[in-house]
Amino acid sequence: MQPDTTAVLRQRHVPGSLDRVGASFGFWAFQYRRTWRGTVVSSVLTPVLFLAAMGIGLGTLVDDGGRLDGAYLLFLAPGLLAATAMQTAGFESMYPVMGAIKWVRTYHAMLATPLGVSDILLGHLLWVVFRVTSSAAIYLAVIALFGAVASPMALLALPAATLCGMAYAAPIFAFSSGYEKPSGFAALERFVIVPMFLFSGTFFPVSQLPDVLQPVAYATPLWHGVELCRALVAGTQTLADALLHIGYLSLWIVAGVTAAMFFFRRRLESTG
């Protein structure tokens, strides 16, 4: 056989950076084909169960006290929207990231191709945006069915929930790539995610907390997400407040992505 040297130096297609990020996103989308059914079922069931048990069941009790103008469901539902966005983001940003580094080694496979560290990170983060947004959309639809949506402004609660979710996803990406052991996830879940879920204004106003704890609650991204979603769903959101919350959540995203980029580089460029 003749050496095929003519073909060796022919022109080459090099995917541009948008294509590369798209290809990284494409992997996660491809892989999702195996699991999407389960996630859709739980995206529907979770809000139904929560709203039925807490919004209606517990709400009857709360509303009898008369402290929330007989509308605990209206108070709770949008808060849960933000809180669930946080939980979906956390779920998608822990084991999948560590697995892609350590176990399945998906990132390493990608790195041998035109994809670079930033393409890999951004593509995966975009995938989490998709997951958070799609499950929040289902949530919002369920809330509407429960009659807990007061204004068309509620549609804006969808990007607000996504923003809230990503304010968690980005720093958790940094954690998952910087921390070597999966045992860290249990701690993160137990000492960070769950307390925020319970005390950042989702179930009751932060003003009910002891004075010393209130600043802590106000500093959590979740509280800003909850406030934003709640006012949007009720149709009472003012621009000034909205900008404040959006700005604060964006800060977490920018800081999280920066940290994740650092840890991704450190992990992926040295080992493998």
Binding site: A7, R12, P15
Partner: protein, 332 residues
């Protein structure tokens, strides 16, 4: 096999054109003073490498020699700590994606997605190179045929044997018709039959003009595949040349292996054969006598009244070169 034809068929839209001139023929890979440190530890210690187009180049060395660290720098994944590196005339720091678009990589540790099927692994990988779905599908069929995995195409990767996984990894590395194929221990852990079948595939690629760069612990692999190789130890090159040159320079034509009983102290026997040959190596289980006349030396050993349990005269191999250069065996 009709890969050369389909190489030309594969016409994906050209976004960036790398202009490559003929001067590149001299050095597809060019490194000077290439160094990789991890903290205080120096894994690759200022090596110079030139690999020409179409060449098959090997890194031979024991565990921890720095082979993988070097391959990862050449693969534009791990940035060099110091030194100059040019791949296909480009700078890995600035042109990583453009270079990697033209490399095929077989990593030491498989990075296959074991949850996906054989075919899906290739399909998804081709997309990373920006190939159209149709182009990837066509290429996938051809490559599965090339590595004889067509009948396993729909199976999950998980239950495949080690040799099949390795073949799949090689198929995957060829999805973009690479100009340079980087193979980090392509056959480690495979049985002899699987290794020979892989060598056959690699040999065919070489005939097609693909530049091969490989690392290995096995001297027979290096001898089979490499035009030129370096013996690497502790981050440096101990020697460089074609397998034949290395043997001629660093070893003798033949080697006489003497085994005495299992409880004997080989050092005692080393003293007793003193003067018969220029060089004797004492291994835990045997003595190696480097000689140009194995039979003559064997006779001389018996004349001295020594009674080895077994004697073996064989030709020198790269293993002997390695032993000479580093004082250690390659595979323990």
């Amino acid at each position: 096999m009709s890969v050369p034809e389909s190489r030309r068929q594969l016409s994906v839209p050209v976004a960036t054109v790398e202009v490559v001139d003929d001067s590149l023929d001299a050095a597809f890979i060019h490194a000077r003073g290439l160094t990789k440190r991890f903290g205080e530890f120096t894994a690759v210690d200022g090596i110079d490498v030139d690999v020409a187009r179409g060449e098959a180049f090997g890194f031979l060395g024991p565990n921890g020699a720095g082979k993988s660290s070097t391959m990862r720098m050449i693969g534009c994944v791990s940035p060099p700590t110091e030194g100059t590196l040019r791949i296909l005339g480009m700078d890995p720091g600035a042109d990583g994606p453009a270079i990697r678009a033209r490399l095929g990589v077989v990593p030491q540790q498989d990075t296959l997605d074991t949850e996906l099927s054989v075919r899906e692994n290739l399909l998804i990988y081709g997309r990373y190179f920006g190939m159209s779905r149709a182009a990837v599908r066509a290429k996938t069929d051809e490559l599965l045929d090339f590595v004889q995995l067509t009948d396993r195409a729909k199976d999950k990767v998980e239950p495949l044997s080690g040799g099949m996984k390795r073949r799949l990894t090689i198929a995957r590395s060829l999805i973009n018709d690479p100009d340079i194929l980087l193979l980090d221990e392509p056959t480690t852990g495979l049985d002899p039959q699987a290794r020979h079948s892989l060598w056959d595939r690699l040999f065919r690629l070489k005939q097609r003009g693909v530049t091969l760069v490989l690392t290995t612990h096995y001297m027979d692999e290096a001898e089979q595949l490499c035009d030129r190789l370096v013996v690497m130890d502790k981050g440096r090159f101990a020697a460089e040349g074609s397998p034949r040159e290395l043997i001629a320079t660093y070893s003798t034509r033949e080697v006489l292996e003497l085994r005495f009983g299992p409880d004997e102290d080989n050092n005692v026997y080393a003293d007793k054969v003193e003067g018969l040959v220029d060089r004797v190596e004492v291994l835990p289980d045997r003595l190696l006598l480097y000689t140009d006349d194995g039979d003559g030396t064997t006779a001389a050993v018996y004349q001295r009244g020594l009674l080895p349990v077994s004697t073996l005269v064989r030709r020198s191999t790269l293993e002997d070169v390695f032993l000479r250069l580093t004082g250690r065996t390659l595979v323990d």
